[in-house]
């Protein structure tokens, strides 16, 4: 297959993929756990709202929570059993906080619900119908961001190209590679469904050049299906190429505007796993209740990829991989660069869980003490967002929020590259994350104080205007009284005048009361 022209994104790092172990094993299965913990918020957007109550029996695939808003996703039971509680539980999230979850005690029957109609001949479905089916199935982006897929599908018009992202550039993660190798047809069928839902006819699947087996599997499947709209593109394996902005740059040479999204320039990115989930949703009527998770690291006996029911505790995954080794010191969700630490292995697998790393202290060494920044500029050399990390660090340390904004802190994608090249061992990414929250807090405060100030000023204005009006009236009266000083007749006329006015008003008021019905009938 001919290779189209590719571009380069700025910077990035060549990293050791660390996938040798799990990439050599087929995708395994995890038995149904005793308890499933399904968080109501496994996606970007509003949390889902439960539609079941404790004590209710649910079947595998049955909806148990509906979207909490337009940007939201359904949650489905991932096995049959009984809802035992809807309460706050610890969830895998960087904050480490608890969040509402539906807990199901499974019955081991794995009895399926069949509320969604399978449509193997999806060609007859309209774009809106397809979107509705994807939405009903609770599909979200499986690359890690977990943005509701149906919302993304409805976002743009006049798209040029669908990009399926199979560039897993982050060390440890290989769930997409295994998916592409073992189930290329499902990804391709997903691509066909997505093309139809977007009403376009060009799709490109980006796979890194160090994964020839995945590309070969895809190309064979494309040939077998006789599909001419889809092409496979080998992209250089440079981290963070899996970032959609970086991938779009590599494939098209174009850049997504800073405050915009890919559809603004005619592209739509979906993860390859998402495409497979879309195919399952539409062709088989299966909602998103499981996903492929890479379970790896030196702390796991036999690292491999597993097809896991959402809500399964991570400990069960490690069990399915032969258990822990001696060096199980860290637990991460995600890869070596952006994965966040988890405190315990009882946390459930959610839609965004692409990888679970159990690492030893040798794999994740403690940070060395930070030294002063020597302005070496290495961070700027490798920053894929073309930022100046040393400048941002300077301003973040000094708390200069305006400068941070001016140096485009919000364009930082927190890929962590600058940390890895920093000779002074500075925790730059942490600084930037912190600085972002500071900026958000300031903007929130600013909006709040602006509102308060506006209110205060409006009130002040109103009070002043009232006072001025009162003063004016008083002055007029005084002037009138002044004129008549010493002229008893004029004074009397004035008083009579006032009395007359009062009487006239009274009469008018009575009149109005009496004529109320007539007035309304007029």
């Amino acid at each position: 297959m001919s290779q189209p022209q590719l571009w380069r994104f700025h910077g990035g790092l060549k990293l050791d993929p660390r996938t040798a172990g799990p990439a050599g094993e087929p995708i395994g299965l995890v038995p149904v756990p005793k308890r499933l913990v399904l968080p109501l918020s496994q996606h970007v957007g509003q949390p889902a709202e439960p539609v079941v109550s404790p004590g209710e029996r649910v079947l595998k695939g049955q909806p148990i929570a509906r979207p909490g808003g337009y940007i939201g996703a359904k949650v489905h039971a991932s096995s049959s059993g009984t809802v035992v509680e809807i309460a706050d539980h610890a969830v895998p999230h960087p904050s480490g906080l608890a969040a509402p979850c539906i807990v199901i005690e499974t019955d081991g029957l794995d009895e399926a619900w069949s509320g969604y109609e399978p449509v193997p001949e999806f060609a007859s479905l309209s774009a809106a119908d397809l979107r509705a089916r994807v939405r009903a199935a609770g599909v979200v982006g499986l690359g890690g961001a977990a943005f509701p897929t149906a919302v993304k599908l409805g976002a743009g018009s006049g798209l040029k190209l669908l990009i399926l992202n199979g560039a897993e550039c982050e060390p440890y993660i290989c769930c997409d590679e295994l998916l592409l190798r073992e189930r290329p047809e499902s990804v391709l069928t997903g691509a066909q469904v997505l093309l139809q839902a977007l009403e376009i006819d060009r799709c490109c699947i980006a796979v890194e050049d160090d994964k020839p087996r995945a590309r070969e599997a895809l190309e064979n499947a494309i040939a077998a299906m006789g599909e001419s709209r889809i092409e496979v593109v080998a992209v250089p394996a440079i981290y963070p190429e899996g970032g959609e902005r970086q991938l779009i740059k590599v494939l098209t040479g174009e850049e997504v505007p800073a405050r915009g999204v890919p559809p603004d320039i005619g592209y739509l990115c979906q993860n390859v796993g998402t495409a497979a989930a879309v195919a399952r949703a539409v062709l088989h009527g299966e909602p998103l209740i499981s996903r492929i998770v890479t379970v790896t690291g030196g702390g796991v006996v036999r690292p491999r990829n597993l097809e896991v029911r959402l809500g399964t505790p991570m400990a069960d995954l490690v069990q399915a991989c032969g258990g822990y080794t001696e060096g199980a010191d860290h637990l991460l969700m995600g890869g070596a660069m952006m994965g966040f630490p988890l405190a315990e292995d009882s946390l459930p697998v959610i839609k965004a869980t692409n990888c679970v790393v159990v690492a030893s202290r040798e794999e994740i060494r403690p940070r060395q003490p930070a030294m002063p920044c020597i302005r070496c500029g290495e961070g700027a050399e490798i920053c894929p967002a073309q930022l100046l990390p040393q400048q941002l660090y300077w301003h973040a340390r000094a708390g200069e929020l305006d400068q941070l904004d001016e140096f485009h802190l919000f364009d930082c994608i927190e890929c962590g590259c600058c940390d890895v090249v920093c000779p002074s061992q500075l925790p730059l990414t942490q600084y930037f994350r912190y600085a972002k929250t500071e900026l958000w807090a300031r903007d929130r405060d600013r909006i709040r104080s602006d509102l308060a100030r506006e209110r205060f000023e409006a009130r002040q204005e109103r009070l002043e205007a009232e006072q001025a009006a009162r003063k004016r009236r008083l002055e007029e009266k005084t002037r009138a009284a002044e004129k008549t000083r010493g002229d008893e007749a004029a004074r009397k006329a004035l008083i009579d005048d006032a009395l007359e006015r009062v009487q006239a008003r009274r009469a008018r008021d009575e009149d109005a009361e009496g004529n109320d019905d007539a007035g309304s009938g007029r």
């Binding site: 060390p171 991460l332 630490p341 988890l342 940070r367 000779p423």
Partner: protein, 347 residues
């Protein structure tokens, strides 16, 4: 099961400041050897004094500033400053002059600004300039290359006599300055040009080699080798060295082509004095240099042009130190005007 927490990213940097500085020192080894070969062991004595004083000053200042002394001394930045300063000093330099320069470099040019990473000026060059204007005579009193073997001097001090001079500042009875000293090629060229001789006439003297000054050109070669090593190790990036070299050579070539009689060729500028030391080791000090790619080109080119200008029309035979300090001043402005475009932003 419970696990330890660690913030992403989870990969650790392969290098640290100590490694970076250590590589710089390593890259200077060949040039040091060449220097000693041509001008005797004075450089080693000067280095020893400069390093001792610089490290002591750094330790004292860090202690006064209540900073961790051990880890920050271990970054080797004070050693690099001292070694670069020593490279600029004449082979026969009394210890107190070297010490003054090293102390000024560390205390005033570095620690008073907040220590490593905060100094706007290159500390080694700041220290050298202080010496240059405080001790003009001592700073220009060089030895000819290869001592008395070329007939450029009547006698040469041996290693022991050099050490004695470094410690006491006085020559033994048997030697006199007139007998042992000689001007540097840049100095000599400047003097001779003012006597209305042409460049080609001047360069026929045995002081001059095929490119620059005899001996000097070889030191420059070894410096370039060290510089290439740093480039290969990615300790420095190519922009500053290339820009310094171009900045010196482009105007030099222009004037040489117009008037070869009173302007030496660009190769002479490149292989004389401290041009290459500046290009690879001094201007590349990241702390006091511009940071963006285009900024580094501007910064380096500015230094190169200033080196040529000061040599050609200034009051000093070499202009490296002043050129670097002047461009250090311009760094904030350069950084401001050469900010790279962020992804997804219009220019």
């Amino acid at each position: 099961m419970k696990f330890e927490s660690t913030a992403p990213p989870h990969l650790r940097p392969a290098r640290n400041v100590t490694r970076v500085m250590g590589e710089v020192l390593l890259a200077l080894v060949p040039a040091t050897a060449a220097w000693v070969w041509f001008f005797g062991p004075g450089l080693l004595y000067n280095m020893a004094v400069a390093v001792a004083v610089a490290v002591a000053c750094e330790a004292g200042a860090l202690a006064l500033r209540q900073r961790p002394v051990g880890p920050q001394l271990a970054d080797l930045s004070a050693v690099v400053t001292a070694v670069l300063l020593a490279f600029c000093l004449p082979p026969l330099t009394p210890w107190w002059i070297t010490a003054t320069g090293a102390a000024f470099a560390i205390l005033f040019a570095k620690q008073l600004y907040g220590g490593l990473g905060h100094n706007p000026f290159n500390p080694a060059m700041a220290g050298y300039v202080v010496l240059l204007i405080s001790f003009p005579e001592q700073m220009t009193r060089w030895l000819p290359p290869l001592g008395d073997t070329l007939g450029l001097a009547a006698a040469a001090p041996d290693a022991w006599q050099t050490l004695r001079f470094t410690l006491t500042g006085s020559l033994p009875q048997s030697l006199s300055w007139d007998a042992i000293s000689g001007a540097t090629p840049l100095d000599d060229l400047k003097t001779q040009l003012s006597l209305a001789r042409t460049v080609s006439e001047i360069r026929e003297a045995p002081l001059y080699g095929s490119m620059g000054g005899r001996g000097w050109e070889w030191i420059a070669n070894w410096i370039a080798l060290g510089g290439i090593y740093l480039l290969w190790r990615r300790i420095i990036r190519w922009q500053i060295p290339v820009a310094v070299i171009l900045g010196t050579c482009v105007p030099a070539a222009f004037f040489w082509l117009i008037d070869p009689g009173s302007h030496p060729p660009p190769s002479f500028h490149l292989f004389s004095g401290a041009t290459l030391l500046c290009a690879f080791f001094i201007a590349t000090d990241p702390v006091s240099a511009a940071t963006s790619r285009s900024g580094r080109l501007v910064y380096g080119f500015g230094i190169g042009v200033l080196i040529f200008v000061i040599r050609s029309w200034g009051g000093y035979p070499d202009g490296v130190a002043f050129a670097v300090l002047l461009m250090n001043m311009a760094v904030p402005a350069i950084d401001h005007f050469t900010r790279p475009r962020t992804y997804g932003h219009a220019n």
